[in-house]
């Protein structure tokens, strides 16, 4: 290039840079923040119109005589029920830019796991719930769910369904798998998957090492994550999955997966059986929350009230096969589907659940939590 051209090119580049800096100065400041200073309470009232709800797959009985359809019929509220929550983090991230603007992408209600609900509340993304607008809910909620560690006064979350994280086993191919430690057996190399949900996978590993999760330190967590990394590098763990382990089980790609107790309705493999690990257990409870910018909060309240009516709750539990927070479901099912009523996965006793961890986050400050999460992400996505 001649020197005159070069000079012009430099001037042009400098001009472009200056323009960009001006643009940036005019542009926004902080990114990725949010605050919980001014939280609104979701409004109640007569419910009508249409409502959009997001939930995990397999969390409601489908079809023309399913709960959603019945709700539509009885209340006249057009309900768009999307099963697009596949992983807490992915769903959160998808919504985050909109939540930052105070919008929820049209959703009036969605269901995430309790630790994620708390995180969203702390960031100011949720509305508070008016107990007076949820009479049926608070009338029928089981006593052990009236409070929770993440939401002691039930200010922002209402339990939807819960369950245990354990091991799904293809009993035709690998009947001897009973514990988390068994999953590390080289015999099953490459045929085992684990969950991308850190709060499900790592506590189980900690317990299989004999560590009490409530007393585990950050280093314990990091050591467990390192064990997972080694298992991944050696090819022992085939993949880290969200809900898709159900597909792998169905198509026979794996013999065992860390998975959720009620996903039976999602697995097409008749030989698959959920087992509670002999060396540990983990509980989770998913919560329904109302986001900021929810277009139809009365309808959201109406839906929750509807779902907490024992008859409806029994229908849901019968299909979904997860633990229900609603009182009065068990007697109904004892008459209608005794097999479900006596299933310890669905109606576990307090003693069975006592030693279980409760989907905990790692200990420490937010920086510590972020560090552990980053380490776990390293393992699950390279």
């Amino acid at each position: 290039m001649s020197s005159k051209r070069r000079f012009r090119a430099v001037v042009a580049a400098g001009g472009a840079l200056a323009a960009a800096i001006v643009l940036a100065a005019c542009g926004g400041g902080d990114v990725g923040g949010g605050d919980s200073s001014d939280v609104t309470v979701a409004k109640g009232g007569p419910a009508s119109g249409s409502v959009l709800i997001s939930n995990w797959p397999g969390y409601v009985d489908p079809g023309a005589d399913g709960t959603v359809a019945q709700f539509e019929q009885q209340t006249g509220i057009k309900t768009d029920y999307k099963e697009d929550v596949n992983d807490n983090n992915t769903f959160f991230n998808k919504l985050k830019p909109e939540l930052d603007q105070g919008s929820s992408g049209g959703r009036s209600l969605f269901v995430v796991t309790d630790w994620m609900a708390k995180r969203m509340y702390d960031l100011g993304y949720l509305q508070e719930i008016n107990h007076a607008d949820l009479p049926t809910v608070f009338q029928n909620i089981l006593p052990q769910f009236e409070k929770s560690t993440t939401d002691p006064e039930r200010k922002f979350s209402i339990p939807w369904q819960g369950g245990q994280t354990g091991i799904w086993v293809d009993t035709a191919k690998a009947p001897e798998i009973h514990s988390v430690a068994d999953l590390f057996n080289p015999k099953y190399k490459g045929q085992v998957t684990m969950l991308t949900e850190m709060t499900d996978t790592v506590p189980l590993v900690l317990q299989s090492e004999g560590i009490n999760v409530d007393e585990a330190t950050k280093d314990d967590w990091l050591a467990a994550i390192d064990k997972l990394r080694q298992a991944r590098d050696s090819g022992q763990i085939r993949k880290f999955t969200g809900n898709e382990y159900t597909e792998d089980l169905t198509s026979g790609n794996i013999v065992a997966a860390v998975g959720w107790s009620g996903d039976g309705s999602l697995i097409g493999n008749k030989n698959a059986e959920w087992r509670r690990p002999t060396d540990g257990c983990d509980l989770f409870f998913d919560q329904a929350v109302i986001p900021v910018g929810a277009p139809n909060t009365p309808a959201a309240y109406a839906f929750l009230n509807f779902a907490y009516t024992p008859a409806n709750a029994a229908k849901i539990t019968d299909y979904v096969q997860y633990v229900t927070p609603v009182n009065g479901v068990r007697p109904i099912l004892e008459k209608e589907d005794p097999q479900v009523a006596s299933d310890p996965k669905i109606f576990p006793t307090q003693q069975e659940l006592a030693p279980c961890s409760e989907d905990p986050l790692p200990p420490g400050s937010p920086e510590d939590v972020a560090d552990v999460e980053a380490a776990f992400q390293e393992v699950t996505s390279g």
Binding site: L95, S103, N243, E244, E247, G252, G268
Partner: protein
């Protein structure tokens, strides 16, 4: 006698030799056959599996669960509302993006081929950069822009992104058509008294049309097909590929295969139409008749 045995011997040994030399002569053609088969296998699988009965698996596709042949998913091809919505969104997005990027790109191509101006080389470079950038970098940087300015992610941001990456491809296609253009036809029109605008309207544009159509088709295909850039900038909007990705985690309804096969057939028809148009235009203008493409 020598000649007798000489002619007698080839007929015994000739068969394998002939077979071998036939093989060598047609090796390339046989290879072409295999290569094409390889390219079309997944399409075959998709089409075949659109007929697989998966009612045992909640109507979700799986090799392992297959009850046999059924037409029911073709009959109820549009009975998965989220899928339909995603497909509609993809089409709307692709249509608007195609129109915008084809218009913008055609004008750019004309400027770059027919005019000499300061900044031409820089513009060429600017055009090439998006094609040379990995999609993930383009998607991620657009996301950074939208986040810093606090723009709501959704259809609009998707549209912006799609137009952006289509422009370069449109320019490349239209430019190659413009380069092969015989200007003497335009000169003839001018000689016959046509104004520049009339020349463009009645001579240039009709001859350019197949190129523009091809560019538009390419832009449409790129837009419908795009996943990575869309994944970063979609917010909660779902396009067809994004729906398939999400469905893959929960179980892909057989209707996805049905609609994909329909989409394939539709695009094939559209291409045939474009090619037919092109053949017509070539014949009309008698532009370089010895070239077929």
């Amino acid at each position: 006698m020598e000649s007798a045995t000489a002619t007698a011997r080839p007929s015994i040994a000739a068969a394998p030799i002939r077979a071998w030399s036939w093989l060598r002569q047609n090796a390339l053609k046989i290879y072409t056959g295999f290569a094409l088969a390889y390219m079309l296998i997944p399409i075959g699988v998709i089409a075949v599996f659109s007929f697989a009965d998966a009612s045992q698996n909640r109507d979700h596709l799986s090799f392992a669960i297959n009850n046999g042949f059924t037409l029911k998913y073709w009959e109820h091809a549009f009975s998965v509302p989220d899928l339909n919505q995603a497909l509609m969104t993809s089409f709307k997005l692709a249509t608007v993006a195609t129109i915008a990027s084809t218009a913008i790109g055609t004008l750019m191509a004309i400027a770059l081929v027919r005019y000499r101006f300061y900044g031409r080389r820089a513009s060429n470079l600017l055009l090439v950069l998006p094609m040379a950038t990995p999609e993930i970098v383009m998607g991620a940087s657009l996301l950074s822009l939208f986040l810093i300015y606090g723009l709501a992610l959704g259809f609009t941001t998707l549209l912006i992104a799609h137009i952006m990456f289509c422009i370069s491809f449109v320019v490349v296609v239209v430019r190659s058509r413009l380069i092969g253009f015989d200007r003497s036809v335009e000169d003839a029109a001018a000689d016959l008294g046509a104004t520049p605008i009339e020349t463009f309207r009645y001579v240039t544009f009709p001859l350019l049309r197949p190129g523009i159509l091809a560019a538009a088709l390419l832009a449409f295909a790129l837009s419908v097909d795009d996943f990575i850039v869309s994944d970063f900038n979609k917010g909660t909007t779902e396009t067809f590929p994004i729906y398939v990705f999400g469905a893959h985690l929960r179980g892909i309804p057989v209707q996805v295969n049905v609609l994909a096969t329909m989409l394939f057939a539709l695009t094939v028809t559209a291409i045939c139409f474009v090619l037919w148009q092109q053949k017509r235009a070539d014949r009309l203008a008698a532009v370089r008749p010895e070239q077929e493409v």
